[in-house]
Amino acid sequence: MMIRGTAASEGIGIGTVKIVTTSPRDIEYYAPENKADEINRYNEALESFCADTEKMAAELSEAASEKEAEILKGHIQMIRDPFVTSQITDEIEKGSCAEAAAEKVLNSVIEMFKATGDQLTMERATDVADIKARLIMHLQGIEDVNLSRVPSGTVIVTDDLTPSMTVGITGDQIAGIITAKGGYTSHSAILSRALGIPAVLSVKDIMTSISDGDHVIVDGSEGLVIVSPTEADSEKYAKKAAEFAEMKRQLQAFKGKPSVTADGEPREIVANIGSPADGVIAKNDDAEGIGLLRTEFLYMNRPSAPLEEEQFEAYKKVAETFGDKPVIIRTLDIGGDKEVPYLNLPHEDNPFMGYRAIRFCLNNHDLFQTQLKALLRASAYGNVSIMIPMITTVDEVREVKKLRDQCIEDLTREGKNFNPDTPLGIMVETPAASIIADRLALEVDFFSIGTNDLTGYTMAADRGNSQVQNLYSAFDPAVLRSIKRICSCAHNAGIPVGMCGEAASDPALIPVLLAFGLDEFSVSHEKVLSTRYNLSLWNKIEADHIARHALARDSAAGIRRYLNDKVKRRIRK
């Protein structure tokens, strides 16, 4: 049986299913004989729940997953609420068993939270549901899922990977992961990729279509799950797995090596990340720095904006992870498409062409300057650069610089430690920025090309819209010409130009990007080594030749075909 899901983490996993349940057994409703004993039983379960949760929080903290650790610590505080304890004890006195008492009381707390109609409070209801499930499991003697003890060759099948489950997980015993929920950017996906475990997510009915002990093949590169494979399937995938392992092994040869072209010309290969914890993963994957640290993680899923100190600590962490290597941090890039209630962003019909990113920040000086100050202070602890998203005019850049200069005055007055020469650059991701790139290059210290949005705006096509998806392509001559122009303008003004969109790691585009003069390639952490490999394939003369011929073609499809052919021939050699 073959099932499709979302390819979340590449590779082939072959193994035996272990279904991991995060819900308790059905509760037996009975009246315990000895109420005092029952209350003791509750208290013991409460203590073991808190001790286990404490341990998990500590392990998550060590792994730099501070946010997950905080969530778990909050659980301890909630379950120790004296109101909750006294209500549960009352229920036991009235003749309930501990499980039923806990269920009743915590369900009423969940209802109480839901009834407020307040979005943030209603989100806490999910926490209480998680606590309820785990506490009842403790009472039922079901051990907290300990994935570090499973036999080798286990394929985990679960609803969703929760923070508590992921503690102690290593890639050694777990051959694959299949979940019912989650997309490419979900916690489950990010974790699977970080651990190098093949994963297929969003397989809606997986919990009912598969059983403990089933043999299964997980194709995380294609997003396929094959249950009870035939001999033919097994042979085919064993071969695929071997090829994949061989490729990974060959790539390991590039670890610790400089990133150079076939001529020995150096380029920077750095990573795109979304949090300080990702920074550690990127470093382990041999990234030579960070080409894009998205800062939205600091602003989302909370009731109010982060203050200077909290931001400073987060940026400092990433800066220190990389020492003297560059860390480019992008200022807040958020809009009406994301849920951030305290920013009071109006609902827009067209958020991608609306009040977002730098437009919002230039209208909210307090918020923006808090971020700028935190960034300037963090730059005293490493090699930090500030990058502004969604620029469309020279005036915007000049205003940013004015606000930045005010921050420098403030920080000097406050006697705080910071680097006054922190480089300031922009993302070039709008057609306007591409067209006036010559003027913009005179105003900033570097460019980073955001091909994801640049492609969408240039081709006037939404990548998520299946009817026009075929138009959205970085191989389109319009997009390639823009990239070429942006690179030339940067070099004419003597500033470096990098790229942080997906195009930077595309093997077929690398010779073209080299020809255009791209200095820095910022890619997803797991693509660092493969990008280094692809870079090493081309010398300047070939790259120029290939770029010229590619641009002579009229269509994205034609250009892609040509480039793919070139890459195939080169790899064969």
Binding site: E70, M78, V84, M112, F113, T116, T121, P303, S304, E308
Partner: protein
């Protein structure tokens, strides 16, 4: 019984982290702590009830303490709220 009225001045109000800090400090006192808000009487020692009360920035509240150490409890509660409940 002692009481005092004041305004909540930290941006998050009595949300998760500040509420947790408040209840762990108030747990040290023997007196009962009640927060009157919006016509409700909220148990100031219960994290769950504080969160459910949705006391936000700018809310006008009244703290009522009753017990042997009521004055100390009230002073502490007022001090915590006026200093922003742990927010910088």
């Amino acid at each position: 019984m002692v009481n005092q009225q004041l305004k909540v001045s930290n941006s998050q109000g009595f949300h998760m982290r500040p509420a947790t800090m408040f209840v762990s400090e108030m747990a040290k006192f023997q007196s009962s702590v009640t927060i009157k808000f919006n016509g409700l009487n909220v148990n100031g020692k219960s994290l769950m009830n504080l969160i459910a009360a949705c006391i936000k920035f700018g809310s006008e509240i009244e703290i009522v303490c009753e017990g042997d150490d009521e004055q100390a409890a009230l002073d502490k509660a007022v001090e915590l709220i006026q200093s922003g409940l742990g927010e910088e």
